[in-house]
Every structure is written in structure tokens, then in C-alpha cells.
């Protein structure tokens, strides 16, 4: 089974995995829960981990893969050290969230919904995070940045990572 799109990986220590794959969860109804715990521990769902889950539940890897790819929450490659999420909920959209997302993509020089080559930053669009009164909103890790604008994007990147941020600006000079 190749599970096209899943990265091999193997960062997940065996003991962590055995803490997740416990006997009382050996039923397909715990599949989503198991995948969530693995992603929380590993940061994403690696090919190795998915195959172990398939073996543990005694269901075909294709079935595990089918469920994992159905839900938006699951990733198959790691996030950056600074995961950036730009809210694309209704309120944020109406307040110009799209421009913020594009500015972020431009400043970080990474595509939307991907991770940069140096794995410093990743950029995702997410559905509503429930801070509609502060729209448009983005989060970097656990920090919430309210009322964003394209110029502000540059400002916050400078505070997060002074050395690598604002590549555009340097080029312009």
C-alpha cells in the first residue's frame, strides 16, 4: 500500500504509539479518536503510523486512508515551527480576510495550505475560529492577532522571526 501523499516519517516513539493504541480502543469506532491522538503527538499522520493503525484495528490501510483523508483536520505532512492560520470565516471574509491571506502567502513566499521548505512557517486557511468580533483574524501558534491588514502582516512577521521575515522588503531595497 503506497498511500499516495503520505510521508514516511517515524518520529513517533513506539511507547507513545502503544499508549495510543490501547486494547479498549481496538474497534473501528475509535478510529478518528486514534488518528487525532497520533496527529497531536506526531504533528501529522505519517505513512508508518497509518499502517500501524490499520494493523491494530485489522482493517485495510485503504479504509484508514479513506477516513483520514475525508476529514479536514488531518494532515499528511508536518506543519512549520510557526504554524500560521488565517481565518476565512464569513465575518473575516467580509472584513478583507482574503487580502490578509494573500499578503501572508506573499510575505512568507509559501503557497496557501503548505509548509515552507525550511519548515519555519506553514500557512493554512481555516474555517471560522469564532472570533468574529475581531475580524479579520489570524493565529500564529496559539497567539491570536485581531483586526489584521496586509501592512500589519509584515509587522507581525518581524516580531516572530526578525531574521527571515519580510523577504520582500529586502528585495525592494
Amino acid at each position: 500500500m503506497t498511500l499516495r501523499g503520505a510521508q514516511p516519517g517515524g518520529n513517533l516513539p513506539g511507547e507513545t504509539l502503544s499508549r495510543i493504541l490501547i486494547e479498549e480502543r481496538r474497534h473501528t469506532r475509535h478510529l478518528v479518536d486514534i488518528l487525532q491522538d497520533i496527529q497531536a503527538a506526531e504533528g501529522y499522520l505519517s505513512r508508518d503510523a497509518l499502517l500501524k493503525v490499520s494493523e491494530f484495528l485489522d482493517v485495510p490501510a485503504s479504509a484508514v486512508w479513506g477516513v483520514a483523508t475525508f476529514y479536514n483536520q488531518f494532515r499528511f505532512s508536518p506543519l512549520g515551527r510557526h504554524p500560521v492560520r488565517v481565518c476565512m470565516g464569513t465575518a473575516c471574509h467580509l472584513a478583507g480576510g482574503r487580502l490578509v491571506l494573500e499578503a501572508m502567502s506573499r510575505e512568507l513566499e509559501i503557497e496557501i495550505d503548505s509548509t515552507g521548505e525550511d519548515e519555519e512557517f506553514s500557512l493554512e486557511r481555516v474555517a471560522c475560529i469564532g472570533c468574529c468580533a475581531l475580524a479579520p483574524v489570524l493565529t500564529v501558534g496559539a497567539d491570536v492577532y485581531p483586526r489584521m491588514t496586509p501592512p500589519k502582516v509584515e509587522e507581525i512577521l518581524v516580531t516572530i522571526k526578525p531574521a527571515g521575515a519580510s523577504k520582500n522588503k529586502e528585495k525592494r531595497k
Binding site: 474497534h27 473501528t28 469506532r29 475509535h30 478510529l31 478518528v32 479518536d33 488518528l35 487525532q36 479513506g66 477516513v67 475525508f70 476529514y71 479536514n72 483536520q73 488531518f74 476565512m88 470565516g89 464569513t90 465575518a91 471574509h93 467580509l94 478583507g96 487580502l99 494573500e102 499578503a103 506573499r106 510575505e107 481555516v126 474555517a127 471560522c128 475560529i129 469564532g130 472570533c131 468574529c132 468580533a133 475581531l134 475580524a135 483574524v137 491570536v144 485581531p146 491588514t149 496586509p150 501592512p151 520582500n168 525592494r172
Partner: protein
Amino acid sequence: MTFDEIYRRARTQWESQYTGEIPHVLIGTATCGRAAGSMAVLEAFKHEIEGKNTRAQVSEVGCMGLCSYEPLVIIIKPGDFSVCYHHVTPQVVPQLVQGYLLGDDACLELALGTVAGGGGEAVYIPELERFNQETRLLLSQCGYNSPLQIDHYIACGGYRSLSKVLKMKPADIVRIIERSGLRGRGGAGYPTAAKWQFCSKAKGKQKYIICNADEGDPGAFMDRVLLESNPQAVLEGMAIAAYTVGAHEGFIYIREEYPLAIERLRLALVQAEAKGLLGENILDSGFDFSIEIVRGAGAFVSGEETAMMAALEGRRSWPEYRPPYPVESGLHGSPTLVNNVKTLAYIPQIIEQGDRWFRETGTKQSPGTALFALAGKLNNTGLVEVPMGTTLETLIYGIGGGIRGDKKFKGVQIGGPSGGCLPESLLNTPVDFDSLKEAGAIIGSGGVIVMDEDNCLVDTAKFFIDFSQRESCGKCTHCRIGTWQMLDILENITTGKASVADLDLLKDLAEDVKSGSLCSLGKMAPNPVLTTLRYYKDEYQAHVLEKRCPARVCKELTAYYILPEKCERGCDHCVLACPVEAIFSDDKGLKVVDQAKCTRCGSCELVCPVEYNAVVRLSPVNLVPPDRRTRPETTSKEL
């Protein structure tokens, strides 16, 4: 321990904190408060009180629904007014502690108002006009009692209803709910009692209860606020429902995107079990009921009840054909009752206060209150609870405080991606299940997004279709491919590539998707398009015929232009801000946007100093004077 003993202990504990000798500081730390910085305020209060000669307590509470005033702090002072402070920062905390907590200065310049009610009565701020128009049943104690302390809930009447129903016959409980006229708050408005009746009569050894907390509509957050502010009410409602239908296992299916709500629910469960209010042999009645929290994994369709059950069984979240309805054959083939968070949270109050009390609020066909998340271009955004039948006008201009700035109202989107967009002429529509449906919208999840003249309705419709298209599970062809094609047409309209015939095609397709889809996601996905086509046809026509976006939002139809008569030659703000070097100076030193290079990011408009205000958006793009569209050859050589 009997319930009376549990109550007495809780009441003593509550009174010592809220009406006793010790000052009590309440800090709103729901997700919205945290986003505004309330955790730093909490730390600042703890730090500031430490070492001072006071026994003052600090508690984390949920959300009062006043999003635009966050972070909020309430100081309860024995023998004095309780005062609510808004936009609190760590910097003003010493002033509040010295001023009001320890001294006699109420720091009125930082105050939003006094706090009245509490202890079972709805909490309100008399100085705020909006509370006159609200009726708070579900939000009654939110942002006041702590969601981290079960005693607060019990002391204010919580779990009394459960202790009461455990001595009643299930049929009598159903009758109370039936007479109350309660309709499901998940969006469809199905009579709750009928569901309960079917499920309690259904044959099956095992029955289940599911609390639907998969609030996926982008722009709605009522369930999150309830679960973060008063989780015990939902647990009690579930226990009552379980006893009524004869279920012993319950699940709360909640979005994984709500980590704080999950955390507070988990704590609430542990506390309720410790008191013997959930688990085995509840209050010595012989009735067992346990609840498991299941995290969703990010699929909008999971909010549909059959899709939710598929998710709970560890499968792809695909909806199934009904009948059989879940109340007959649901989770693992057993009779299953699925109710929304809000529906369940009403139950304890209806049992406690009676069905007549519930009917005093709202309309005949839709009794009770409606919870809305107000967002968009309003002065006061946040969560509101109004009687069913309140008009949209009251919601927007009364409670919402009208449109922000000097802008003009354009439309209001109700019910998220499944709802519709209503124009000014329909602002007198009462919000209840049936009136909204007639107008083409739905109460749905309760998200209310207000748009002003700067918002493009075609773009908004495209946004919702884009959402539904991404979230379509793929089971039904009409939904899977139809929404995709609709998005394609809308994309053409917003980029000026569509013809008049496309508008008819769009409408036909929308009707087809509506009738050809199995579940509500597909059935209702075309609503935003159909309502905007119905009420804002001229806006569509402007895009198609004149290649003009009236709100100047659609990028391909809009150009950024710098007015030479307003531009200041010494200023370079826009040049520096432009990420693609599209702005240059003409021979007089005035700035010009090179339309070929411009990506329409809007940075120049944002940074242009207000005293000049020289950057404007023009639509159609040919409004830009021909001599100021691109960089002349000679200029670029000179540079």
C-alpha cells in the same frame, strides 16, 4: 447525599463568593475574551492581589456575549455596587485593584456599567440599552457564574429539574415539553417533544442520546459560548432527555476547533459525576447515565444527524437516506435521540419553571428565545438572546447599534452557508422559524452577518458556495458537481467573463442542486445564491453587463487609482507599502499605480495618510484615465 444536601452545600459556597464578605473578581475567559487578551488580565489580577491585605477571590467565567467590549471584568464588592469593566488591559489592573477592590473609587472611566441580577435571575447591565430588548434564558448566568465550578450552577437552580424528573413518568415529561412548544434549535425547528416521543416508544435494548455540538457554520458561535460559559445546563438537559427516552449512554459530538469548550465540558463531566448527578444510580434513583465527549475532525457535513452517527461509528461522515429516522434506528442500529446544544440547555429551565412560563416568551408557533451571533459591519457585535418574533430591525439597529461608520446598510445574511441574504425592505421580518423561511432565509445555526455598501453580494454568495463546495461530502452528484459548477459561474461573473444567459443557468442549477441532494448541506447550499439573485439582481447585472462591481470588491473589476489632485508629492507611503513595486512617480512627483503590475492587495489605500486620502477604488476599471494606467517607457528608463 440527597439533592437537598447537595444544593445546600452549593448555595453556601456560592453565597460566600457572591454575596459574602469577600470581594470577588470575575474575568471573562471564553475564547473571544482570550483572543482579546483576558488571560494576561487574569494573571495581572492574581499578581496584583497577592501580598495585599485582602482575601479577594478571582474566578474565571464565561462570556456575557458582549464581544466588542472584551476583555470584561466584573468586580463584586460586599455592600457596594458590582461593576463591569470593559477593554481591560493588564496596565489598568493596579488601578482597579487600588481604586475599587481596596478603595472607594469605582474607576467609572473604565466601567461599562453596574451588574444586576444573578443568583438565578438573569444577569444584566442596566446602563446598556441592548439589555432592554433582550430576554436571557440560556445566557441568563453566562459570564457571571463560573463554568469551572458546578456549585455555582447548582446554587442557582441547576440539577433541581433532574432530581424532579427522576421521580416522574417519562410520558409526563414528554407532555411538559410538548405543551411548551419547544422546537429544535439546530436550525430546522422540528418539535422536540415529537422526537422524544418517537424515541421513547421505539423498541430497542440499547438507546443513545447525542448532543450535536458540531457548530460548523462560519460566523456562528452560540454553542461554543454556551459550552464554555454554562456546560452543566447541557449535561443536565442530556440526563433529563436520557431518562425520558430510556437511554443510558450519551455522546457529545463537538468540533475539534473548540478546544476550550472541550476542556470545560470534560471538567464539568468529572464534577457532575463526583456529585452523583451523572454516572451510576443517579441520586439513588437507580437510573444510570454516562456521557462521552467525542471530538469531530473538521467536516461541516458531520452536523447532519445521520452523518454524525457515521462519524461516531468511525466511518466517513456521509449522510444516509431517511427513513428510518435515527429515533428508530440510529447509532449502531439502535434508537438514537439527536438534539442540539441549545435545545438541551432549555430543558432544565422548562421543567423547573413550567411550559406556560416558556410560552410567555416568543410567538405562538415559535415559543421561547432565539440566540444569534451578531457579526459584520455593526457597532455592537456579539451574542444576543431575543424573544422569537423580534424583528431584524431591532436586532440590527436596536441591539446591534446600527451600521459602523457612516455607511449604508446593504443586506443581512442569516443562517450561514445554508441561509439567505435579506435586503433592507425585509428588515421588518420577525425572526422565527416560519417567517424567515418564507423570506428565503433560515434561522439555521443563528449566525447573523450584516453587510454594508462596501460588501459585494455576488462575492458573498460566491464565498458561501465556495464553502459548501469544499464541504460537500461527495455522496450526491448534484451537490458534489452542482456546487462546483455554480462556483465556476460565480467566478466568471466576478471576473467579468459571464454572459446574461449565465444568470439563468445559475438559477436553474441552484434549483437542481436544491432538489437533487439528500441532506440539508446540499439542499440548502444554493440559498445564498437564490436569495441574492432574488433581491439583488441589479448587482449581478452590473457585474455581467457593465463589468462593474458596485461595492468595488471583485478584484478583476476594480482598479486602485491615486487622485493626482489629492496626492502629496513629498509622501512615499504607498510606494513603500506596495509589495509588487507597482507605484511610481510621474514627472510632477505625484504617484501613479501601474495597472498591469497591481495585484489589488489594497495596501496603498490602507497606508495613504488620512489627510490626503488620495487612493480610491474605481469600477469598472476603464474609469482610470488612459494616461495614468501604466508606466510610460521614458520614465522607466530615467529611473
